[in-house]
């Protein structure tokens, strides 16, 4: 399964035959369209499938299409149109959620290029493993004794390190995904391993912030 095969949505508007940027809406004749069941998030937003994206352009695209599709603007329409607005708007929002998140976007691209899923490839890059044990220990220690100052300082230090590590790993992912590697290539397995590492980092960062939240109930008044 490759990206090309994903694109079975109509290329032209069934109403005015204009070329479609997104199968959700014809920007030429302003008609809402019935979209196919599985829609690539890139197709939904009408942008080319690349890993590197301009965040602002993506957001502007979401806003522009929302102005056309959102159910709020079809509240007085017939039930069929209302249903279509709801479905297409949901499709648009889900697509934006995938594309605006670097990990989910990379994950989607790997899957669409028939790369391994996270169930099929569970390992992380080997350089990463030694550090993971050390990080886990620091978090565990801080969890046991949240008031200990040294442990807290170590946690702050770890948070910085995790941020750096995440940036480095995602830069590596970006490099491997630009341009997109061939379908089923070994590069995809390597990307998957990197993404597994980032998932670990995100979980660790989440736990650290949860610990911080629990601590921070300081006196407000």
């Amino acid at each position: 399964m490759t990206i090309v095969q994903h694109e079975h949505a109509p290329e032209n508007c069934p109403k005015c035959w204009a070329k479609l940027a997104t199968p959700l809406f014809c920007e030429t004749c302003q008609h809402m369209l019935e979209s196919s069941q599985t829609l690539s998030p890139f197709r939904a937003l009408g942008i080319p499938p690349t890993y590197e994206l301009n965040a602002m352009a993506l957001r502007k695209r979401l806003l522009a299409l929302s102005r056309r599709l959102h159910p709020d603007f079809h509240a007085n329409a017939d039930p069929a149109t209302q249903g279509l607005a709801l479905r297409n708007s949901a499709e648009l929002n889900s697509a934006f959620e995938v594309l605006s998140d670097d990990v989910r976007r990379a994950d989607w691209l790997v899957k669409s290029l028939a790369g391994p899923s996270e169930e099929e490839e569970r390992s992380m890059p080997s350089a990463f493993l030694a550090e993971v044990l050390e990080w886990n220990e620091a978090i565990e220690a801080a969890r046991r004794d949240p008031e200990d100052g040294t442990l807290r300082a170590a946690l702050d230090e770890l948070e910085r390190k995790l941020d750096d590590e995440r940036r480095r790993t995602m830069a590596e992912v970006a490099r491997m995904l630009s341009p997109l590697p061939p379908a089923r290539s070994e590069t995809l397995r390597s990307i998957r391993k990197h993404l597994n590492a980032v998932r670990y980092i995100d979980r660790a960062r989440h736990e650290i912030s949860e610990l911080a939240l629990r601590r921070s109930s300081a006196t407000p008044c």
Binding site: L63, H70, L86, S89, A90, N93, E97, P220, C221
Partner: protein, 620 residues
């Protein structure tokens, strides 16, 4: 071409009412002449309608300010804070119930219900009565029937069951809830009407019963919620309760345990605490004074503002916890916020303002009345939905994650919290036993890892699967959230096309059939209900008028003839008060009003002038 004309007519935007259905107060607003306006009760500067219901023994329902005035005398038949019980089971609200003077039970379908006038009332029915009253007041203010289509606001942190309960309440009130809108989002609309505004906004909404915080980005007229967090059990009610504990802690001798358990005493203390809290907004100290109506019990405690502030520190800390969560989810820091907006009556307290200012490092906006801003925003959204403008658009999120219970009781999250709505997601599931022909699904909402710690929204079963080895069936489960944040789940076995779907009807909700049944019953009894309520309202009004007239008519310096006439009207009113004749009561009321006109004038002129000015009759 007559059709053409008709078409044009149909396209004229039909106005849509905005209703803030609050824990302590409710109110309506409508878009008129290019801006949202609050629809106030006649002769009142305050648009707020107390969300209080009184059920007189003889039948009917009294709602709003009049019901509130009766809370002290009839603690067991005057219901308030109904919103806290919407979409909840008895187990969820045990604590809430300990704090209110009225009693509730659980129906066989798991719904909380309250017992007054010899029957059970669900929170949905009670909220419907409040909505109906709000609609009537809106109609009165407009001088014509208000729109039946409405945008109704709910706390952003309301879950699916609570949202559906609100939608059902609207239906029972004869209204169509065109949109269930999140309160902080509504507030941002009222503030950000000026579409040149751009930037990141935080809304801190500390209301009567709930706390919400939402972070939004405003760009080209699109209000996009980035994250929301909150606590549906944190509000001004809790502040009042802290005040009550504070005053009782130092007056152990005056009110024994028996008196404290008395519903009338509880009600009185609650109202006294609320008054004291409001005074402490401007004064540095105030009395919490309480006199039980019949027992001769009294309590008077001087409360310093500093004492109150210390007592509610833990509450404010909880609001800041929610703020931190919202920031973490939005991946922003407080310093990145351009503007902070305060919503909800509790944000009038100086220490709340100071806390917010310190946390966000910015002076919060307070230009709009924090009690009215949500209704105003709902009216703006009503204007958008009516087709009145395409300049504004709200993109909201779901506050809580949604998922399915998996084998072993864990939760597989399918839609993460703070995902924009409407939204949809599909997850593949499979069978775990050989030749398994059915799968049970438990739909849950919440952030915890285990299903039993989340709220179960409902269970459904996909049956009739063809016998297959374990793990071979391919079941696609689709979650679809509509723009109100309400969920529909469908499951489909892909090889056979076998489908099962549920409109997730929450455990603590009403079924469509129940709503329909209640609606039918209300149509059947519409006339009696209307007359009973009208009579109940008249009697309350008569009581107030009688009390005022009797207290003053002898010594207001009126001539003998007028005094005699008033006395006669009083007698007639007393008789009518005891009868069940609506027409007679109405006549007596009008007669009493006419006869006491000179009295009112005299009172207004005389010493009472200062005391009465600016107060409504039911406040005298």
């Amino acid at each position: 071409m007559p059709f053409l004309e008709l078409d044009v007519l149909n396209n004229a935007p039909q106005p849509i009412l905005g209703i803030d259905l609050g824990t302590t107060y409710s109110l309506a607003a409508l878009w008129r002449d290019g801006r949202p306006v609050v629809l106030r009760p006649k002769g009142s500067r305050d648009g707020r309608i107390p969300s209080v219901l009184h059920f007189p023994e003889e039948g009917g329902v009294v709602v709003g300010a009049r019901a509130r005035a009766l809370a002290l005398e009839h603690p067991e038949s005057t219901l308030f804070s109904v919103k806290r019980f919407m979409g909840r089971g008895l187990a969820d609200v045990r604590e809430d119930l300990e704090r209110v003077p009225f009693r509730a039970t659980e129906s066989n379908t798991g719904l909380v219900s309250f017992h007054v006038q010899g029957r059970a009332w669900t929170p949905q029915e009670l909220s419907a009565r409040i909505l109906r009253h709000v609609w009537e007041i809106a109609s009165e203010a407009l001088g014509e029937p208000a729109p039946k289509r409405a945008v109704i606001t709910v706390p952003a942190y309301f879950d699916d069951a609570q949202r559906q309960a609100t939608r059902d309440a609207a239906k029972l009130a004869g209204l169509e809830a065109l949109r269930i809108l999140n309160e902080p989002t509504a507030a941002s609309l009222a503030y950000g009407l000026d579409r040149r505004k751009q930037g990141t906004v935080a809304v801190y909404d500390f209301g009567g019963g709930t706390f919400d915080v939402s972070i939004l980005s405003i760009e080209e007229g699109v209000f996009r919620v980035l994250a929301t967090a909150g606590d549906t059990h944190l509000g001004g009610d809790d502040v009042d309760r802290e005040l009550v504990s504070l005053s009782l802690a130092q007056s152990a001798g005056e009110l024994g345990p028996e008196a404290r358990a008395d519903p009338a005493v509880q009600q009185g203390l609650r109202l006294a605490a609320e008054r004291c809290k409001i005074e402490l907004t401007t004064a540095m100290e105030a009395d919490l004074a309480f006199l039980a109506p019949h027992e001769g019990l009294r309590l008077r405690r001087r409360i310093l503002r500093a004492e109150l502030e210390r007592a509610i520190e833990p509450l404010l800390a909880r609001t800041l916890d929610a703020c931190r969560r919202a920031f973490a989810d939005a991946r922003l820091m407080p310093a990145e916020i351009d503007e902070v907006v305060l919503v909800g009556g509790s944000t009038r307290m100086p220490c709340v303002r100071a806390t917010v200012q310190r946390f966000f490092g910015k002076k919060p906006h307070t230009e709009l009345d924090p009690d009215e801003v949500v209704a105003l925003g709902a009216a703006v959204q009503g204007h958008v939905l009516s087709g009145g403008t395409r300049e504004l658009l709200l993109l909201d999120v779901t506050p809580l994650s949604l998922g399915l219970e998996t084998l072993g009781g864990a939760v597989s999250k399918i839609i993460q919290r703070n995902t924009p709505v409407p939204s949809q997601a599909t997850e593949p599931f499979t069978t775990y036993a050989e030749n398994q022909t059915g799968i049970d699904f438990n739909v849950v909402q919440g952030e915890r890892e285990l299903a039993r710690d989340c709220r179960s929204l409902g269970r459904f079963k996909l049956s009739g699967l063809p016998p297959m080895p374990a793990g071979l069936a391919r079941v696609a489960v689709r979650f679809a959230l509509d723009a109100d944040g309400i969920l529909t789940v469908t499951a489909k076995e892909e090889s056979t096309g076998k489908e099962a779907s549920i409109d997730v009807r929450p455990m603590h909700g009403l079924s469509d059939a129940e709503v329909e049944g209640m609606l039918q019953a209300s149509y059947a009894h519409a006339r009696e209900d209307f007359e009973a309520s009208r009579l109940a309202n008249l009697k309350v009004e008569l009581d107030v008028m009688l009390r005022a007239a009797e207290a003053h008519y002898r010594d207001a310096g009126l001539d003998r003839e007028t005094v005699a006439e008033i006395r006669e009207a009083i007698e007639a009113a007393r008789r009518a008060r005891e009868s069940a004749d609506l027409a007679a009561a109405q006549k007596a009321r009008d007669e009493l009003e006419r006869a006491t006109l000179p009295l009112a004038a005299a009172l207004m002129d005389a010493v009472a002038k200062g005391a009465l000015a600016g107060k409504r009759l039911d406040e005298v």
